[in-house]
Symmetry: C2
Subunit: 323 residues, 2 copies
């Protein structure tokens, strides 16, 4: 049992606080992908819900607990998916939600945050600037700050995906997890290591935004000066020490993939699985494409974690090269 | 309680014979579609499974019952989705599956039927020719013929979607159902009329393949000489009398939509819901687009019934016009 900040019994109990529309998501073998990849591939699909990403599993926990407290206001920084999720969960419970995002964030994500009724504040700079601004708002207004991957609700919410994996899947050899702030990886990783310790937990990050992977490899926090990737959902630069500690306990590996592999992964998922995904959600497929020998003949699960894409960029990516 | 050939208690029991990978599919509000459509829209998504359509709900019943009998061989005619489903369900149980299809059927569907290990026989002519040939094979070889929409398993399998709708959905005002042979419409329609009689059951068929809609309107079987639609999954010409009888009991309306509305529906589902769908699965959205006043302000459920598209044709359709 990995001694992370997470608790398996608490994760199981957390399912009751999450709207069922986000739970028990599809998990299925996708044989049409397999000739291209050389291994058995199962997809855990986190996009067929009202906010098109897995993030509401965490914000449902945050919002349901906050709804029971005296304070009704909450703020988070977001690249776009956490903000949509918090807006959705907060609206349902009458919370006052503020989301801080980079003005360079994916437009459609910002539009959806507004449409869901949250107050959206844009900052010049990237996601790290948005995190600083959200923290300042929380201090100044004395309201709850939701810090993705640090706050235990975001990790244990994501971890419910891991429970569904181990409870439903026939045996699998490895799970490929998009690595951004670390909530998804530490959450799913904790459950898998606790309940199916033989399965490999592999985190995947873009080469252009490698901070947490470098940190995991060097076993100390490594920051980067910039991030350059189309995978906007995982483009952090300042890993959180407590999250790294957990990741060191649950991840068997952390790999970096090229942008062209992410695009190839998106295209494969569209053309052979009929799935529209955002770049972060193609990281697992990208990892297989870059190292097919590693996965040959094995049964791999990849979590398709989001589908909020800018339509024009998406069409450009998937039509740019041969299938 | 509509006196169709279907039985609600039997449908509930049937869930136990269906592989869980096909059950309890996502059902969720899709608010991003709503400004374009002028009504509340929920999606029941039947594409996130190993065969990318709802058809396995029926073939699971066929195959599990056949696996318990002495005969291990089965044949069906298919436009492509039933064949994939029967191939999948039969392979799992060691059945000998033959699928007859038109040589003009969607290539990727035929490829998947072969990949799933079924014997595929192609006929010159359309789906009605394939039906005749499948019946001839069954008579000659004395094996089980699966007739889509006539065989009760195909209707009651599809009807499990209706159970999930009425058990899970907050109240809805209407359900939009693609109308082809009639299994989906009579199945879901039976359950909705039995359990939520106030909800409107609306069947949607392409103007280019209107046989069952014309039959429903005239309360007698009407055949057509040809079918001309991109919605290959619903392009039948010879309605089955027993299916029409059931449809007359459960459908509140049957509407016909233009090809350009089907394409517009596919494009909306891609660009605002992130869903790749085959033309038949966009019929519900097409119906809203053609008659927005009818649905204004109401809560409509549409069943996204399949996503097996020819990739090149799909790209052509969705990129052909403005968003």
């Amino acid at each position: 049992m990995p001694e992370t900040r997470l608790d398996t019994a608490r994760i199981r109990a957390a399912r009751r606080e999450i709207d069922p529309v986000f739970l028990d998501t599809p998990l299925y073998r996708c044989e049409a992908l397999e000739p291209c990849l050389g291994c058995a591939v199962s997809i855990k699909l986190e996009t067929a819900n009202p906010i098109r990403s897995f993030k509401a599993r965490g914000t449902e926990l945050v919002a349901s607990r906050l709804a029971d407290s005296a304070s009704r206001a909450v703020v988070c920084a977001s690249a776009g998916n956490l903000g949509q999720a918090l807006a959705w969960s907060g609206r349902r419970r009458g919370l006052d939600v503020t989301v801080v995002a980079s003005r360079f964030a994916t437009r459609v994500k910002l539009d959806r945050i507004r449409a869901l009724g949250a107050k959206l504040e844009l900052v010049d700079g990237d996601h790290e600037t948005a995190r600083e601004r959200a923290a300042a708002i929380a201090r100044y207004d004395r309201i709850r700050l939701v810090e993705d991957s640090l706050d235990i609700e975001t990790c244990e919410g994501a971890a419910t995906i891991g429970l569904e994996l181990v409870d439903t899947a026939p045996s699998f050899d490895a799970v490929l997890i998009a690595l951004g702030g670390g909530a998804l990886a530490t959450g799913v990783g904790h459950v898998v290591k606790a309940l199916v310790p033989g399965a490999e937990v592999i985190c995947v990050q873009p080469l252009g935004a490698p901070a947490l992977t470098l940190s995991w490899r060097q076993r100390r926090v490594v920051t980067t000066d910039s991030a350059d990737t189309i995978a906007d959902g995982v483009a952090g630069r300042h890993p959180i020490p407590a999250v790294l500690d957990d990741l060191l306990l649950v991840a068997d590996d952390a790999v970096l993939v090229r942008e062209e592999s992410i695009v190839a992964g998106m295209r494969l998922l569209l053309n052979h699985a009929g799935l529209v995904v955002e770049p972060s959600a193609a990281l697992g497929i990208a990892a297989i494409l870059e190292d097919p020998d590693r996965f040959a003949g094995r049964h791999v699960v990849t979590i398709v974690c989001g589908s909020n894409v800018d339509v024009d960029a998406y069409h450009r990516w998937v039509s740019a090269a041969p299938r």
